[in-house]
Amino acid sequence: MNLLLDNLPALLIAVPLLGAFLVPVIGRFLPKIRDAWIILVSFLASLAAVITAAAVFLKGTLVYVFGAAAVSSAADSGGIPFRIIFTIDGFGAFMLLSAAIVSFAVVLYLVASQKERSGKSEFYALYLLLTAGIFGMVSTGDLFNFFVFLEINTLAGAALVSYHRKGGIAVEGAIKYLIVNTVGGLMVLFSIGLLYAQYNSLNMAFLASQMTWTTLNIVALVLFITALGMKAGAVPFHFATPDAYSVAPSGITAVMVVASQAGLYGLFRVLFTLYGGSINTVTIGWVIIILGILSMVIGVTMALPQKDIKRLLAYHAVSQTGYMLLGVGVAFAVLGDPAATAAFGQTAMEGGLFHIINHALYKGLLFLAVGAVIYRTGVWSLNKLGGLGHNMKWTMVFFLIGALAIAGIPPFNGFASKLMIYESVFAFNPALSIIAMVVSILTLASFMKVFHSVFMGPRLPEYENVKEVPKLMIAGMIILTIFVIGFGLVPDLVVDSIVSPAAAALLNQGSYITAVLGGGL
């Protein structure tokens, strides 16, 4: 048992990878237990993530060295640590938790929604690879390793986007997503190369301890911001996001939101941990804030006129990313001012991070609910849907809860994180806070339109015989609903137990460095 607990960070990757490689074998020889296998593997991977996160929140940053008992360096290297090192601090643990909840809920949903589809073994193998990619990105303390997991994330995500829709439109969306994110991935690799050429190391803690404000480092930083911003779907790098989200299987889109947030994780990790106070935080902070404002405004205004229900949701995903960038951007802009950080910067950071997990939960729920509608009707167009509340009551309730949460209506989780963002950002710059509130009103307006046009109105003749979706799909939505409501009812507990440690981990660059390198460097 201790052996398992001691090697939890390795299991985060090993379990989904092993599960993925065995899915096609099981699918070939024991097809009847394939669904049970995928649920079991996903459960174990999520369990490993939850236990790892709990260990981090209770005991502090977890440093795991692959192939050795402790961090070590060659005698003549100047203290450069070698081997792949996983460094899971409060922020990594927070992201693991988010990914674990959503990925398990979605597996339950997929097992039912993909029941009649072909090629399920490969589909689930890709799904587990995507999970491994996300877990790896938020756990590793090695930059090249981060790039590898980023590529696994992108490749598996693109393949899943294209998997199950006829007519070539899904393939087109997937190829756009793949090309754009591969270019972004190469820019990340180029940035890593620039740092490696200067410091002879790929370890984030070591690089952070050596980081200075040089032109090469500025080039690397700008490429990190743009490439990881593109992965996260921030405007003006967001274009492929709605193209891919709108055509992917709905369960997959829910996980793609978390996959994009792993890009956001990378961006915040680079800013706070890798560069930290060594750069002009005010300018960079404002760059992040402007990306956030652009994402919020353009995302929501593009969502409003959409007729395709999934494309509308995809633009809202872009818009919600803006809130996270805004909150964390404000925190970064005042990073060099301890008084401002204490007064509102930390709350802005906590609001931004809280919104990450909230968004993963309610947007995941919304995509699953919309997927349920499409599963039963086969219709994407808001101009053709209507009156489904009569026949799909559970789905309607889940959608309504997700819609109220994303619009920031109390007492759901979206309200708590948005309120933290509004109030803290108001102290920094009132205009930014007002823009955020206006965007929230437009979000509510947009979801009123969706809710009315899909679920309200008289029972339409073409949907007379539509039934509620299978129980496993309902189960997946229930899991997310519980968290959406729960996080809204006890936001103080959530903030104190998982959000504040995540914010503290980002704000305290020294603790990350010390956890890996000790006090020796």
């Binding site: 003006p236 709350t347 053709k384």
Partner: protein, 112 residues
Amino acid sequence: MIGDLITGYGFWNPLIWIIVMATGLLFAWLIWRCGESGYDKGTEQTKPYLSGNDEPPKSDVHIRGGNMYWGFTHALKGYYDKLIPLHSGVVNDYLTWFVIGVIVIFVVVMVI
């Protein structure tokens, strides 16, 4: 107090909010209880009155998604006329925006 989320300027407590909402709903229910309940379901009393005209088919009276907010998009026509074509669906355009973003951010960071 249990449930207090400190937000910077003040606090948010969902439990207080729920109690207030429940009280409001209770009053609403009490007022509703005072209303007239002596009507017959499924008769002419509960059918929509359309100035004596026949009720059109259900599929014709449902307000579809495309019917909503046209005024909003019409009022912002200039904005949308510029914004929507930017989302061209062409990967070359997407990557051009990436390059533009890199250049703009690099210049901003170097100059300021």
